[in-house]
């Protein structure tokens, strides 16, 4: 069974549906990129899958032993976080909040998990530093380490490279690819960068009003939608 199966999903804000009757599924080990213009419902879809808002129709089924709260989430940064007084360690540890159960404080197991994920992201040296003083790329690594504390299986990321310079962006993509290939973490990522999406992802979900595409990256490159967007973006970037 697939990790996530969305069937006939309708979602939106309040009573206004952004997209209707969307069906797709994500299998263990997939790397799915969700692309599309602003306002096409990418973030809303992600929030719906995460259970932050209720679907207006259709179903989202979790399979393959995935529990709903076993999802790691890398949200877009909020204004609050930009001047939040907290150390890297405090933030990464908060990724373990679901493991606390009824306990009030983090135990040895949670601290070990946080340390391990900090190491994985190459941020151990910064553990005592203040989050707001880090560079954009370092902040994303911290949030990624936190997300990894919450999950072993599935990461949802909302534009993880937005606002990063090209070198750091490439590093971030490599890091995510490594998590997917080497550690077998399933990735669902919202991206503006269709070029990178086609290069790294195994599957593409393209949202955009009437044009909805779901399939693997190869199929996307050869589809009408994919060709148009890929060519258009390539033209701009070349």
């Amino acid at each position: 069974m697939a990790l996530i199966t969305c069937r006939d999903l309708t979602f939106g804000y309040e009573s206004h549906a952004i997209l209707e009757h969307l069906s797709f599924q994500v299998n263990a080990g997939d790397y799915l990129c969700i692309v599309g213009e602003n306002g096409s419902g990418k973030s809303t879809l992600m929030r719906t899958v995460l259970g932050l808002q209720k679907p207006m129709g259709g179903t989202i089924a979790f399979g393959d032993g995935l529990v709903e709260n076993e999802i790691g989430y890398l949200p877009q940064q909020t204004a609050i976080q930009k001047d939040f007084p907290a150390t890297v360690w405090e933030i990464v540890l908060s990724g373990c909040q679901a493991h606390m159960g009824r306990r009030a404080f983090y135990g040895r197991a949670e601290k070990a998990l946080a340390a391990q994920n900090l190491e994985r992201m190459g941020m151990t040296a910064c553990r005592r530093r203040c989050y707001r003083e880090l560079s954009g790329g370092q902040q994303q690594r911290v949030l990624l380490a936190r997300a990894l504390c919450a999950t072993r299986k599935l990461l949802l990321m909302d534009e993880p490279v937005s606002g990063l310079d090209p070198r750091v962006t490439a590093e971030m993509y490599d890091l995510i690819e490594q998590l997917n290939r080497r550690d077998g973490v399933t990735i669902i990522m919202i991206s503006h960068d269709i070029q990178a999406a086609v290069r790294y992802a195994s599957h593409i979900l393209h949202l955009g009003g009437a044009e909805v595409f779901f399939g693997n990256a190869e199929q996307y490159r050869n589809s009408d939608v994919g060709r148009r967007f890929d060519v258009a973006e390539g033209g701009v970037r070349a």
Binding site: T78, P85, S94, A150
Partner: protein, 276 residues
Amino acid sequence: MIQTISQYFQFPFVRYALVVGTLIALCSSLLGVTLVLKRFSFIGDGLSHVAFGAMAIAGVLRITNDMLFVMPVTILCAVLLLRTGRNAKIKGDAAVAMISVGALAIGYLLLNLFSTSSNLSGDVCSTLFGSTSILTLTQAEVWLCAVLSVLVVALFIFFYNRIFAVTFDEDFARAVGTRVEAYNLLIAVVIAVIIVLAMNLVGSLLISALIIFPALSAMRVFRSFLSVTVCSAALSVACALAGMLIAIVGGTPVGSTIVAVDILVFFVFCGIEQFR
């Protein structure tokens, strides 16, 4: 001066005032960081006005221990404000403004219409600015304040990690299954309790200062959530003690003296930040 202070310590009500004032200052500073960062500070301000209105009603109804009436009303309003903040047609800040200014107006109106006191403006002034109410607490009120303060501190310590998680990133917390609504509710209720307590110390208009200044000062200098929290608690207690002693010796109003000390410390910490 030490002689004057030790002379004042002979009076039990002065000792009570210092103990209760310190406890109130301690718990009011704890949620300051959360309030500032979650942009909840306006709710704190709104609730303090609600508490004033409730106090006026308690006065009209001649309820002897008015805290027992003011507390539930303020908690109820905190819950309502939090709910409307999310999804109502009237936006959160507008709802707060409506309720707070409304409560202020109705409170003063009621006091005027039904007042039994010969010194109405004195009464209103002491409710708004606290002047000396911390020195006139009855023994029952002293115990109530002490028990509630300890309860607030205990709750804060027990839920410290959750409060951090919910303050730093609500969406992430919700996505991993933390009951964010429940913790927001807890935060709102605790704020309401703190406000009613702090009313005795600094009066309803100055409560926000007591909650927010220590947190803002600590945030200038410290970089971790834990150190900011500990520092703001320590600052708040120190400022409250200093303010109360100055007020007793100098005969100045307690509330505004404490807030003045808080402001002074804030600028000192801004200076420290510059020189680091």
